[in-house]
Subunit: 154 residues, 2 copies
DNA sequence: TGGGCGGATGTTATATTATAACGTGATCAT
DNA sequence: ATGATCACGTTATAATATAACATCCGCCCA
């Protein structure tokens, strides 16, 4: 969590934005979904479903796996959260309106996952897909390595 | 498996090439590793570890999960097989010498995973990483959608 | 108003994917 | 030959995810 001094604000902003998006799309931003999104953001980095489960357990009573997975499904389907397949983990989307050109720089040292948008990459992918007559629906782009801060340290 | 009329040749070529690579790098291409690679290639598409396990069971006696995972680890570490994280599946690398600029077009209809290399994408990724002072070590790029053939059908 | 519908959540059980830990056997260098 | 190392066998269990069915709750409308 390198560049996040006022992290409470991150969380609050994300929740606020989620609220607005759901209202605009007439989706139900239930208490549970809100709580899960809040927890995901509080972790401020890729978080595992079962870790969420455990944390929820302390706040709400006896949450079971399907419950948290359903909430995560809702959040990912609506672009509020991304799943990072290579980690089996979830992370809050930092710009749920500018989509789906999102990918991740994942630091193997500190666990930080920086979300990026880069139109060069997006268009390169789109071009290749077009050339192959492939109709792309979902793109998983995850780059793991070492972030700036962690390279300094060692 | 759209464009593969002489599939036995694919498998044979892949094994032959693996043999050579391992010899050149002084790696042990054991009977088990060979068998697993052969099976992966025979599937000619993303295949699950436990499916391999089951198939091996019919050929060799009573293989257990760690055994097949160890073989898959060896094969992926040495670029002979790729793991497709978004599917929890494995696929043979179709050009184990030209690496690591590999990514996949995965058809959700027929299951085919076409491996591609595209220098535009690779350089766009490298450029972004450089800009962020991120030292990229591994790239997971998986594009799912519908392939040419499957778009025709429906 | 109160019945019925649909979506969200609760609950139980189980499926799927992956690894830890430790023992045994093969291979290699000296 | 002997010890070191690597591959594989074996048992158990961890970690991730979903199926299937029950219940609840808000909402529409008869
Ligand atoms: Zn995003
Ligand atoms: Zn870092
Ligand atoms: Zn490859
Ligand atoms: Zn297809």
């Amino acid at each position: 969590m390198h560049n996040c001094t006022t992290h409470d604000d991150c969380v609050a902003d994300a929740l606020q934005q989620a609220e607005e998006i759901c209202a605009a799309r007439e989706l139900r931003f239930t208490e549970l979904r809100r709580k899960v999104l809040e927890l995901v953001w509080e972790c401020h980095g890729p978080v595992k479903a079962y870790d969420l489960l455990e944390k929820l357990d302390h706040r709400i009573a006896a949450i079971k796996p399907p419950t948290v997975y359903r909430a995560l499904d809702f959040l990912t389907e609506n672009g509020l959260v991304h799943k990072i397949s290579s980690l089996n983990a979830f992370v809050g989307c930092s710009h749920p309106l500018r989509h789906p050109e999102c990918y991740f720089l994942i630091c193997t040292e500190c666990g930080e996952a920086e979300e990026c948008c880069n139109s060069d990459i997006v268009s390169a992918v789109a071009k290749t897909a077009r050339e192959k007559d492939f109709k792309a629906e979902q793109i998983t782009l995850e780059i793991s390595g070492r972030c700036r801060e962690c390279q300094k340290v060692n």
